[in-house]
Structures are given as C-alpha cells and as structure tokens.
C-alpha cells in the first residue's frame, strides 16, 4: 500500500555539498514517501554516494536541509543511523568474527529480537553461520551485510550499490529481501547501476548528473512520458524544425537518412505534425526502457528542464 502520508521518509530541499575544489551536490530537491522504493541513478561520481552520506550524517551539507524520518542527520546523525538500515558499498565488517558472532555483537546495539531475525535471515540466505567472515565469498559477505541491516526491521533502508560485482542469484536474493520489506510498508532508498533491476522494483526514480537532479519522477510517468521517435527522411541533409514545448528532446542521433530522438511529453498532435514535416517519409515510435532514458538523459545534447 502506498500511503501518501504527510511525512515523507526522506525530505531533501535545496541541498548543496561543496568540497574544496569540487561541487558534489547542487540544489537537490527530492522526497521519498513512505512505503516506496526510491531509486537513485547516476554515473560514477554523479553525487549519489555523497547524497547518501549526507542523509546518514557522514557529511555535512554546505547549504540546504534534509530530513530523514523526521530527524536532522546533521544534528542527530547517531540517532538516524540507529533507526535506519544502511548498507554501504564495500561494508566494513570484523573479519575475524564468525557470521553468528557478528550478529550477536550487533544485537547489543539494537532492541530485542534482533538476533532471532538475523538468524532467520542468515538461514534463509544459506550462509554458514559458523564460518569466519574472512572466509566467506563476496556474495556471502554482501548477504551478511544485508542481514545485519535488516534484522532490526528498520523503517528506512538505504542501500548504496549493494550488489555491485555479485552474481545474478545473489542479486535476486537481495531484491527479494527488499521487496519483502516494502510489502510490510517499509521504505527503501536504492542507489544502483543495475538499471534493469531498478526498472522492476522502483516506484520513483531520480537521475543525478554532475551533482544535480536531472530527472525525478515516478517510474510509471517516466515510461509513459518518454518515447523514442524514429524519423525516416528523404534526404539526409534535411534539417528538421525544433519541437515545441512541452515536448523535450533529450537526445538526438542521426544515422544516414534516419534520425532518432528520445522525446518527453510528445503530444499526439505534435506527432501528427512531425509526420507532416517537409522531408519526412516515415515516423515510428517505440517505447523506451529506463536504460534508454538514462543514457539519453546523461548523453543528451540539450540541457533538459528538471521536473518535480
């Protein structure tokens, strides 16, 4: 159940983070409603990890505010981290502890019930509980990290590229765990490169590029509003007029006598118009996958407007 409650799990407004010599985040606005899966996409260095570090209180923003579960991560970082489940990329763990031991150790920091749930999760993931962590494979380590983050049933899960470098089976298990949580009404903020996975599970998607939010919308809207337009021309040298607002061209490629564009909010009238343009022989539309949208967004020639 998607509840549009008054308080979103995460609220970020006009967030900016500047390090000496580089602007990591700029004017970021977003809201993550409770009970949804929010996907954060962007290429390496776009600012995803920085944003997550701000949300978890590991980095101080230079401007703007943010709010996680009603708490201010700048002031109450420790509290925030106690209430959420956070899996960073390459999570640090005590190599010398056994799988069961590390759960027992982590249980000291959480209320009752942690250890039982952890054991259930670990049994479900089929990770040997008496083996030392340094002797686990990468996928098993990731599962242990996930188990540790889920065992206290946090209202908000923040995952920073948790499945990078893992085999498809493990990735599938991660997804299943996530979705299990969402079914209970928990919120998930997922930063990932596996766009095909994101496409299956995201409710909302934000694409970050060079520290700014380029696109922010529900996955459904994105799918509905984007279209791939292929125009067959009679003459390669024909120059086509620009499409007027509200349509936005995110990317445009020319190959011989064909021109292909990724367009957003193309109205049916405009489509008819295009068919009637000079030199246009054929027009076909195709649905875009999230990956296409992502590529178009990042490689597009025009600077698109951001939308909320």
């Amino acid at each position: 159940m998607v509840e549009e409650s008054d308080n979103p799990a995460i609220q970020v407004s006009q967030l900016g983070v500047t390090f000496p010599g580089c602007v990591a985040l700029r004017n970021v606005d977003l809201q993550v409603p409770k009970g949804t899966v929010f996907a954060l996409l962007g290429e390496n260095g776009a600012g995803k990890t920085t944003l997550i570090r701000v949300l978890t209180g590991f980095t101080q923003p230079t401007s703007g505010q943010c709010n996680v579960l009603g708490l201010n991560p700048v002031r109450d970082a420790v509290q925030v981290r106690q209430r959420i489940g956070y899996v960073s990329d390459a999570p640090a763990m005590y190599d010398w502890m056994r799988v069961d031991e590390i759960g027992w150790f982590a249980a000291s920091f959480y209320p009752d019930g942690y250890l039982e749930r952890y054991r259930e999760l670990i049994a479900g993931y089929e990770v040997p509980s008496d083996r030392k962590i340094r002797h686990l494979s990468k996928g098993q380590r990731a599962k242990v990290a996930l188990g540790l983050a889920l065992a206290h049933d946090p209202e908000l899960l923040i995952l920073d590229e948790p499945t990078s470098g893992l085999d498809p089976l493990v990735r599938r298990e991660f997804l299943e765990s996530l979705l299990d949580r969402v079914a209970d009404g928990r919120t998930v903020l997922l930063s990932s490169h596996q766009i095909s996975e994101v496409e299956r599970v995201a409710d909302q998607v934000a694409i970050l590029h060079q520290g700014q939010v380029r696109l922010l919308d529900s996955l459904q809207n994105l799918r509905d509003s984007f279209v791939e337009l292929t125009i067959g021309l009679s003459d390669p040298l024909v120059s086509l007029p620009e499409l007027e607002a509200p349509a936005e061209v995110f990317r445009s490629q020319i190959n011989g006598r064909q021109q292909r564009m990724v367009v957003r909010d193309l109205s049916p009238q405009q489509l008819e118009e295009v068919k009637g343009w000079n030199g246009v022989e054929q027009v076909s539309t195709h649905a875009t996958s999230l990956e296409d949208i992502f590529t178009a967004c990042l490689r597009g020639k025009q600077t698109p407007k951001t939308s909320g």
């Binding site: 997804l175 095909s196 459904q220 649905a287």
Partner: protein, 140 residues
C-alpha cells in the same frame, strides 16, 4: 498460474499483470473462486514491487475480475469470465487492427489482405489448441 513480466516491452508492469490475469481467467487457467497469491508472495516470485502488484489488484477489483474474501485474500470473481473474455476480445481486436493497418500502410490492397488472412486461417485450422470445451459456460 505463472506470470511473466517483461519490464522492457513498453507495457507498464501493472498493465501486464492485469492483462495476464484477465487472459488467465478467459482461458480457464484461473477458475472462478480460485485464490490468487498475495501481493507479497507474488512480488517475491516475480521480483517486482508489491506496490505495483497492489495497483494491478486494485484495478482488477474495480473491474470486477477479482474480489476480496475476508481472511483469505483475493479470489477470482464468479462473474469474471465474461468480462475477461470481452477484454481479451477487445485486446485481440486491437492487435488485429494494428496488423491490418500495418499491412495497408505497406501498400497491400484490402483484397490481398483478406486473402492472406483466409489463407492463414486455413493453414492454422485444427492445429491450435483452444480453451478446452469441457470448461462449462458460465451461467449468469
């Protein structure tokens, strides 16, 4: 019943689910009164967002295909068969329309198209299994 979701084929995931449920009912794979798995179980099976599944279920309930049984979940409604068949029919009509307009657009004459259709129908006769005739026509 097995669902297959392809997030990339252009159709929204929830829409795919709705269609597959309706087709399933129309085909007889899903019988009236049969319980559907919960959103949670389905989301685990298909690796898709339970919100999406819930949305599909909600729509199906509005369409009268599914109804909620207290304490058990969602089951196929008794009057679902007719509406699903209708839905399937209209979907297929849309597809046939698309094929035909593509053919016409390619430059084929209507007569040529008609001949092609009849030819194909002839070749396929008897070779495609239908929904079993043992399935009783629904009453009411």
């Amino acid at each position: 019943m097995f669902f297959s979701i392809d997030p990339q084929n252009g159709v929204a995931i929830y829409e795919q689910l709705i269609r597959q449920v309706k087709f399933g009912v129309a085909e007889g794979t899903l019988r009236p009164g049969q319980l559907l798995p919960s959103a949670r179980v389905l989301s685990q099976q298909l690796a898709i967002n339970p919100n999406t599944i819930n949305r599909a279920f909600q729509q199906l309930q509005l369409d009268g295909v599914l109804e909620s049984i207290r304490g058990k979940g969602l089951a196929v409604g008794p009057r679902a068969l007719a509406s699903c068949r209708k839905a399937r029919q209209s979907l297929l009509e849309v597809r046939i329309r698309e094929v035909l307009s593509e053919a016409l657009h390619a430059g084929l004459a209507p007569d040529e198209v008609r001949q092609m259709v009849l030819k194909q129908l002839g070749e396929l006769k008897g070779k495609v299994p239908t929904v079993s005739s043992t399935v009783a026509e629904e009453t009411g």
